[in-house]
Subunit: 338 residues, 2 copies
Amino acid sequence: DRLVLQYGATQGFVGFREALAGFLSQRYGAEVRAEQLALSGAVSLSLGLLADVFGRRRGLVACEDPTYFLARGIFDSAGLRSFGVPIDDEGLNVEALRARIEAGEVPDFVYLIPTFQNPSGSVMSEARRGALLALAEAHDFVVIADEPYNLLHFEGARAPLPLAMHPAAGDRVVSVSSFTKILAPGLRTGWWQASPAMLERALGHGVLRSGGNLNPVMAQMLLPLIEGGFLARNVDATRELLASRCAAMCDAIRSELPGARFVEPPGGYFLWVDFGAGVDARALRRAAKAHGVAFTEGKRCAVDAAFPSTARLSFAFYEVDEIREGVARIAAALAGLG
Amino acid sequence: DRLVLQYGATQGFVGFREALAGFLSQRYGAEVRAEQLALSGAVSLSLGLLADVFGRRRGLVACEDPTYFLARGIFDSAGLRSFGVPIDDEGLNVEALRARIEAGEVPDFVYLIPTFQNPSGSVMSEARRGALLALAEAHDFVVIADEPYNLLHFEGARAPLPLAMHPAAGDRVVSVSSFTKILAPGLRTGWWQASPAMLERALGHGVLRSGGNLNPVMAQMLLPLIEGGFLARNVDATRELLASRCAAMCDAIRSELPGARFVEPPGGYFLWVDFGAGVDARALRRAAKAHGVAFTEGKRCAVDAAFPSTARLSFAFYEVDEIREGVARIAAALAGLG
């Protein structure tokens, strides 16, 4: 179809959105409609565009603390100021956010990663989800949920639904996802899920009004991978691979780094480890580098907090043997610091 | 190469940039080096990213008046305020810009379309280019040049070089272009040309630091079209097609709309026509619509000016016969307004 090479419908071709909606409905076990989806770029670009659309009232964003370490740079580039809200094993501490809001800091939007959080691996509880959405309604702010890992659960039938599918989401939530973690990063293609009214606002960005859809040709190329079942098979294979790598990393930490504290993540890419009070994660990172292994310091994921003794470890890229070797080298580096 | 599917080098693969540099060097008759190029999205997206990087000092942009009618929406979304600077047959009126600056309105950047301007079709003169760059140096602002039409000249050996290649460009100019007008809009892929220092600043955008290159897989798909000569042949075929369509439109206007004033454009997509004092272009557009033909009112391209009796006509999309019929219908609509 030569029209695919023209400027694309801003929301994305309906045929692509219908195929994606069918795929997601099947994976989520809940109906996703094509009208609730917009084809977009990968998550980083989506966050930049959504920050522009939803961040111009007061220029203020609330982020989980810790959060994805490069998200704050995206909001900085959009000209927004960020503040951090603590998280725990149940996700965002909504009462801490409420206190900030009652002290006058009402964000334009809350940015969070509710499922298999980056960097902590945690999953936001249903109670917290409901409380956050009630707070958003009470104080008239938007929620931008970064949800690239939702299909990558290790246990149980499925992860919680995207926040945009929550019964209380209304016209306040955009869930952002992409093919990066379930197919390949280089595709730079993803989607937004929201109510049609919310999508209409989001698609009002000047870049989209000018250029139309961000990836019409790539979408057309991905369509047979969705319709032919390759994507579904690849998601299951990826889940299995990630689960085995996560288990290997957790086992290795328990045996090689007995003083470290962490919660075994039920899905996703990351594990958040606290090496213990008194360990300087920056010094450990330098020492580990000399042993030929790298990790992301907890401090890099911080918004307002410090996280001096923590790190984000990724189990996504390397083979099980490499993961075991990497943890052993971190343990050797830690022993050398003593 | 499986690495193509990974996050791409932010500036784009060096092999792609070398091939593009070779192609552009040949077309421009002047050396473009791979280090002066960054692979990016199409122009709309590029403008959004560059507006973020270069527009955060005072939040002020100077635009040609008239300008590309959807550019201001991009700057609005980035949170910037725009003001207009008049243009004439030699491009931006640099003295008018100087007066605004001396009155205290120093822009963070000037946005302009120096070659085959949208909507006017004009080409900025060498004298004006030099004067603008001297003004930029004196008042420390950046110039973002939107240059998607440079290879689409109808007469002579070639159009002026991109503004980033001007001897006085220094580290102040980014020229933005894309494959939209020379291959297909749906590819949503383009490039920035600038000094390496300027590119480094531009590539510091949070979206790019997070997501890497915007289109690595698409670039790899375009590479054989550049290396195999298809792109060069397509550019020449496109030039020939556009030249014949432009000539047909100009002839039709001269014969059907003898009261209209316009300058025959030497390249590009657009022609700017003044139907004459007293003609209400909005009323004419409505009447023309009833005759089954559409055009962009001059007013839509305005920043601060009015342009009540003008229109932007595009000769890019339709066949010669359709163009003649379209102009005849506008003439009939105009006669009906009488």
